[in-house]
Every structure is written in structure tokens, then in C-alpha cells.
């Protein structure tokens, strides 16, 4: 049973390693999907938002974590 629990934990950890990174990335994807699919915005514009958003999220979560660790 503990192996199944560890496998489940590993699987979850693969995608949910950092809560902030996960939630902001999912929110970004939802926004882009809303723009492209629901609001019929030019798809390439949505693609640009997705790409730049991901880069921004990456930098923000890294900088935030570095500051948090430096503060402690």
C-alpha cells in the first residue's frame, strides 16, 4: 500500500511541485483558452500571450523563491 501511495505522491509531485507555478500556469492557460476559443481573438496573439506569460511566470516564481530562501 505504501508503494501505491508513494507512486501517487510522485505522480502528483511531477506536476504540482510548486503550488504558485502550477496555479498561475493553469490560470494563464485558461485565460489564453478563453481568448482564443471563446472570444475568438487572433490565435497567434493568444500564442504570444501564452509564451510570454510562461516566461514571466517562470521568472517570477524563481525570483520569489530565491528571495524567500535568502530572507530565511
Amino acid at each position: 500500500m505504501s508503494i501505491i501511495a508513494e507512486v501517487a505522491k510522485e505522480l502528483l509531485g511531477m506536476f504540482l511541485a510548486d503550488a504558485r507555478l502550477t496555479t498561475t500556469t493553469l490560470a494563464l492557460v485558461a485565460i489564453v483558452a478563453g481568448l482564443v476559443v471563446a472570444l475568438r481573438v487572433e490565435p497567434l496573439l493568444g500564442g504570444g500571450v501564452l509564451l510570454l506569460g510562461c516566461l514571466a511566470i517562470l521568472v517570477e516564481t524563481v525570483v520569489r523563491e530565491a528571495r524567500r530562501r535568502n530572507a530565511t
Binding site: I3, E6, V7, E10, L11, M14, F15, L16, A17, D18, L21, T22, T25, L26, V29, V32, A33, V36, V37, P43, L44, G46, G47, L50, L51, C54, L55, I57, L58, V59, T61, V62, V63, E65, A66, R69, N70
Partner: protein
């Protein structure tokens, strides 16, 4: 016969190879600890059983993926790749900047050996069982990530076999090196590899998610290379900006 552009197949094979290299090194360290302390029989048994479970997962999941519409599959895998790849890249940047410590295979080897020795002193009757289980868990848990990466970078464009070949090549390479050196592979530039894999998986994630949403990327497959260059550039600049003067960034 279906032909696949190298601009897509190359990153898929490369990502599977490099990611597998990292994971296999981690699993190898624990299997080596088991083999050294308790003999190679339980180590090999645990490893082979875990590989069989992983193979079974691929056999079961593979046909299931064929029944999912392509755009939906690309979208789901793209989002998972984004979460997974950016998670790896985030950690690799923090390690490169010296904010969090590098992965130390020698320390992990020592820690696993200590745990097995402790188990030996407490529970003499089922030592081989414990050792085999330790090897099984290590290979299964590290292998899960390899299976996901192979499926994720391969499933969207019929690249499952090339990606699987990349992963297998990594396994064989580490096995061959491991047999020769017979100690933890502490000199593998693990964080550099993780950095590279994180970059590639994040690029794939943006690409697949976009395609899943119906976005036609300019330049088609070439866009992947541009995305990877952007993630790499941003990652390196961020790591450089955060780097502590005294940090150990040798790897």
C-alpha cells in the same frame, strides 16, 4: 511511410534521452547501494520487476492515447508538459544560482546504504525482500518520469518509438558506464542536464498547448527551437542575476 522533421524528432529524442539520463543516474545510485550491501540478486530482481511494471504502463496507456482526439491530446499533454517542464526548469535555475543545493549522488548513496544497514540490524529475516523493494521503488519512481516524458514528447506526433529509443539509449549508456566505474555517478552534470530537459519540455509544452488550442505557430516546427532558445536565454539570465558569489555552480 510517415516522415518526421528532425526539428521535431530531434528535440523529442533529445529530451527523452537527457531526461532518462538524469532519472537513470538517480535510480542507478540506489540500485548500486542495494547491490553493494545486499548482493545483486535482490537489486536485479527489484529493477527488473519495476521495469516490467513501467513497460506494462506504456502498453496499457499507448492504445488509450490513440483513442483521444489529437487536439485534445496535444492540449492535455501540452499543459502537463508546461507544469512538469517549468517545474524542472525552475528548480534547475535555483540550483544553478546556488539558491538550493545541487543533487549529490554520493550523499544519496551513503544515505541509502545507511538506511539499508539500519534495516539490516532491525529485521534480519527479510533483508533481501527489503533490499529488492528498495531497488523496485527507486526504479519505479524515477522511471515514472521517464515514461511520462516519452509519452508526452512522443504521443503528439507519432514519435513514441523515437522517444522510447532515446530513453533506452540513456538506460544502456548509464548501465554500461555504471558497470565500468562501479560507484555512484557523481560526476554527471546533472543540473545542466535538468536545465536542458526543463528548457525542452517547457518549449514542447507551449507548442503543444498552443496547437491544442488551434494556434498555427509561424514556422511550424521551427517555432519549437525558438521557444527553447527563449526559455534557455531567460533561464540563464535569471540564474546569473540571482547567483550568489560564493555559490557552488560548478555543475
Amino acid at each position: 511511410m510517415v516522415t518526421v522533421a528532425w526539428s521535431v524528432a530531434g528535440p523529442a529524442i533529445g529530451a527523452a534521452f537527457l531526461a532518462s539520463l538524469v532519472e537513470v543516474v538517480e535510480a542507478f545510485t540506489i540500485v548500486l547501494a542495494v547491490g553493494t550491501l545486499r548482493g545483486w540478486r535482490p537489486a536485479a530482481l527489484g529493477t527488473v520487476t519495476a521495469l516490467a511494471v513501467l513497460a506494462l504502463m506504456i502498453v496499457v496507456l499507448g492504445p488509450l492515447l490513440d483513442s483521444v482526439p489529437l487536439h485534445l491530446l496535444q492540449f492535455i499533454i501540452g499543459v502537463l508538459l508546461l507544469l512538469f517542464g517549468m517545474g524542472w526548469l525552475r528548480k534547475a535555475i535555483l540550483r544553478a544560482a546556488g539558491v538550493i543545493p545541487l543533487h549529490d549522488e554520493a550523499a544519496i548513496f551513503a544515505s541509502e546504504s545507511e538506511q539499508l544497514a539500519e534495516a539490516a540490524s532491525q529485521q534480519r529475516t527479510s533483508l533481501d525482500w527489503i533490499a529488492g523493494l528498495t531497488a523496485f521503488k527507486a526504479v519505479l519512481l524515477e522511471g515514472l518520469e521517464v515514461v511520462f516524458i516519452v509519452i508526452a514528447v512522443g504521443a503528439g506526433r507519432g514519435l513514441l518509438w523515437p522517444a522510447a529509443a532515446g530513453a533506452l539509449a540513456a538506460c544502456l549508456a548509464i548501465l554500461a558506464i555504471g558497470i565500468i566505474v562501479h560507484k555512484p555517478l557523481a560526476k554527471v552534470p546533472e543540473n545542466t542536464l535538468k536545465f536542458g530537459v526543463g528548457v525542452m519540455l517547457s518549449a514542447f509544452g507551449v507548442f503543444w498547448t498552443g496547437e491544442g488550442l488551434g494556434i498555427d505557430w509561424p514556422g511550424q516546427d521551427i517555432a519549437l527551437v525558438i521557444f527553447a532558445a527563449l526559455f534557455l536565454g531567460i533561464g540563464l539570465v535569471t540564474a546569473s542575476a540571482l547567483r550568489r558569489p560564493t555559490a557552488d555552480i560548478a555543475r
